[in-house]
């Protein structure tokens, strides 16, 4: 208990000083924000597996705590994230997205702890992006990432930004469980296989140089360590039963990112060279984003996207995108509610399979955002990875409250 009868505390000057200090500290040094969401997925075809369901509800939360001190030269960010899913025990999970201390020096910055960092320029596939593991249970688009423990030194020089990373701990990819949908059946995430004897304690290293020359952004990157993309390896459990065990190999990946802004167009290219003990390969993702502003004499903007994916390994590639064409549109009405409509279409030129995404979103008031997504998968060849999702067309309704 604070003794408010204490004389010095009652003194008006002292009181003002104390309260003033307290409030300025509050304003500058601590902040909470975040969101909570409720999501429903609705499937209208019978599932492939009898364990799967026609609808799936879930709730998620991701608060963000932020402290800063030393005139913003030091800061600490903590972002836990959790989801509870009605059916899928693998999707019911927690993660620490961020728990890191950032210190800003004169022309350098250290970032130590659990973090997320994105590399890349293209929209439909992120080839170069490798620092973080995908949190695949969150969404099929793999845009959600797990927090990665790291020490990152970032140098800001006249010749660009150089990032150096040491990553002492590996995060396994998440996969939907037997009841989860869409999902790859029979994946056993409890029994991963590592090429390195250090398993998930292998120390991964990475480096990225990035720079802008007027209208052109360039980045070169190097990564040496455990591949974020597992190879799903069938293992017999009995003569009639098998499971898929994620195999994480050691790789060295060189990445190139190029982006040029020509008038209303952005030309984008990502290229990687992946060296590993099984099969070295090159892969690329490239395309164009064209924007129209103020269409039909309104405030609305319309973006057009065309991209192409190529993988040297061809149809043998474990990647879904080895010879694929992508087309997309993004309509932003620029109204008070930030209404947006996204359309994405991918076509596999080898397997003749297609996947379609339609996503509409808008805000209600100042804090609620509602998205309605529709996903359609069309595949008839069983060598095609997308074949596993052929019965998983669904509608997804997400209501998010931001604070």
């Amino acid at each position: 208990m604070i003794n408010i009868k204490n004389k010095w505390f009652h003194h008006p000057t002292m009181f003002c000083l104390l309260v003033g200090h307290f409030f300025s500290a509050q304003a500058n040094e601590f902040e909470v924000r975040g969101n909570i969401e409720v999501q429903g997925r609705f499937f209208y075809e019978d599932p492939l597996s009898p364990e799967q369901h026609d609808s799936q509800l879930s709730m998620a939360a991701a608060p963000e705590f932020f402290w800063s001190w030393n005139d913003n030269q030091d800061s600490l960010e903590f972002v836990p994230s959790a989801r509870v899913d009605q059916h899928d025990e693998e999707r019911t999970h927690m993660d620490i997205r961020e728990l890191s201390w950032v210190h800003v020096g004169d022309d350098w910055e250290t970032r130590i702890g659990i973090r997320r960092d994105f590399w890349g320029v293209t929209e439909f596939q992120h080839l170069v992006d490798i620092i973080n593991q995908s949190d695949s249970v969150e969404d099929v688009d793999n845009e959600d990432k797990l927090g990665q423990p790291m020490v990152n030194l970032s140098l800001v020089k006249d010749w660009g930004i150089l990032d150096l990373y040491v990553m002492p701990y590996f995060r396994e990819r998440t996969f939907a469980g037997p009841e989860g949908r869409p999902g790859i059946p029979r994946v056993n995430t409890d029994r991963p296989i590592y090429q390195s004897n250090d398993e998930d304690k292998h120390i991964d290293l990475a480096m990225r140089w990035s720079h802008s020359f007027d209208d052109i952004d360039v980045a070169l990157s190097w990564f040496d360590g455990t591949s974020r993309a597992p190879i799903l390896t069938p293992t017999l459990l009995s003569p009639t039963d098998f499971e898929l065990r994620p195999y994480y190999q050691q790789i060295t990946q060189l990445g190139v990112e190029l982006q040029a802004n020509l008038e209303a167009s952005l030309l984008k290219l990502e290229m990687i060279n992946n060296q590993n003990d099984r099969e070295d390969y090159w892969a690329l993702q490239g395309g164009i984003e064209y924007s129209q502003y103020g269409i039909f004499d309104s405030n609305a903007d319309l973006g057009w996207l065309v991209e192409y994916a190529w993988d040297e390994r061809g149809e043998d590639a474990d990647s879904t995108f080895q010879n694929d064409l992508f087309f997309g549109n993004r309509l932003a009405l620029n109204d008070v509610d930030s209404s947006e409509l996204l359309f994405g279409f991918s076509y596999d030129l080898d397997h003749q399979s297609t996947s379609v995404l339609i996503e509409g979103s808008r805000r209600f008031g100042q804090s609620v955002k509602v998205s309605l997504d529709a996903r359609f998968f069309e595949s008839s060849e069983n060598e095609d990875p997308l074949y596993l999702f052929r019965r998983d067309d669904h509608l997804q309704l997400t209501v998010q409250y931001y604070y």
Partner: protein
């Protein structure tokens, strides 16, 4: 034959006179056009010159969007800018509301010539995304301000034509037409009212590519900072074609706060919150 000859003679002489009149007229209007251009340029240069030396600034901004039905919605943001004398200014904007865009930030390098460079940081994806420089005419955050309306004024970005003197807000203003040099500007021309006492812009009219009046921007609550720099705390943009409007309010504008070039790079963009 004679009358016809006469007629032809008459006609030729009339044509000659008409041509002469036209040419002198053109000549005289050319002379006044170059004078008008010169005067417009001189005033604009002086207006810019009087605003040189603010070094850097920080401000909190509140934008109130009003639609044709009178419904309103607000957006809050913080803005940091740095003045570069050999190039356009650099700025970093962090959005604080609506809540779903909290933490989204925007880095812009404006240039005296050529395209501006712009990047957006999306905190949910931890991604820095370049924005096509052709977005000049695009709406800023759903407001009636386009990106072009919010970039720093640079003399080189326009050609000028002085029109007339006119009373404005208890002052006398020079009325000047500004023709954007950039062919991708959303405007055919802008007409600005610059007051003669302090060279402050009091009003701007924006004419779209078809040369019809699109928007009117009025500046109010001018305050002088550091005994030199005049800044309006309120800017109201009215769109005459859609009936929508946006009120932009500056709170706590500070000049010469000690920012430097290092506060305006992609690392600073990622860190901004």
């Amino acid at each position: 034959m004679q009358p016809l000859n006469n007629l032809v003679g008459n006609l030729t002489s009339k044509l000659a006179i008409a041509a002469l009149v036209a040419s002198t007229f053109t000549f005289s209007s050319l002379a006044s056009a170059s004078e008008a251009a010169e005067k417009g340029l001189t005033i604009s240069k002086e207006s810019k010159a009087r605003d040189i030396g603010w070094t850097d600034s920080t401000a909190e901004l509140e934008m109130t969007l009003r639609n044709q039905h009178g419904e309103t919605s607000t957006r809050q943001m913080r803005l940091k800018s740095i003045e570069l004398l050999d190039d356009g200014d650099k700025s970093l904007t962090v959005f604080d509301s609506p809540n779903d865009v909290k933490g989204t930030s925007f880095l812009s390098f404006s240039h005296l010539e050529g395209n501006d460079d712009q990047w957006l940081y999306l905190p949910a994806l931890k991604r820095v995304k370049r924005i096509s420089s052709r977005n000049k005419s695009g709406s800023f955050m759903g407001s009636e301000f386009s990106f072009e309306d919010l970039t720093s004024f640079e003399v080189e970005k326009y050609t000028y034509e002085y029109l007339r003197d006119e009373p404005c807000n208890n002052e006398t203003c020079w009325v000047i037409v500004q023709y954007p040099v950039d062919k991708y500007s959303g405007y055919k021309r802008r007409i600005v009212w610059v007051d003669q006492s302090e060279y402050r812009v009091q009003k701007t009219e924006f004419y779209d590519r078809k040369d019809t009046l699109l928007k009117t921007l009025t500046f109010s609550a001018y305050r002088q900072h550091l005994n030199k720099f005049w800044r309006a705390d309120q800017l109201e943009m009215v769109n005459h074609q859609s009936g929508k409007s946006t009120l932009l309010k500056y709170n706590d504008l500070q000049l010469k706060t000690g920012l430097d070039d290092k506060d305006f790079n992609k690392n600073a963009l990622k860190r901004a919150r």
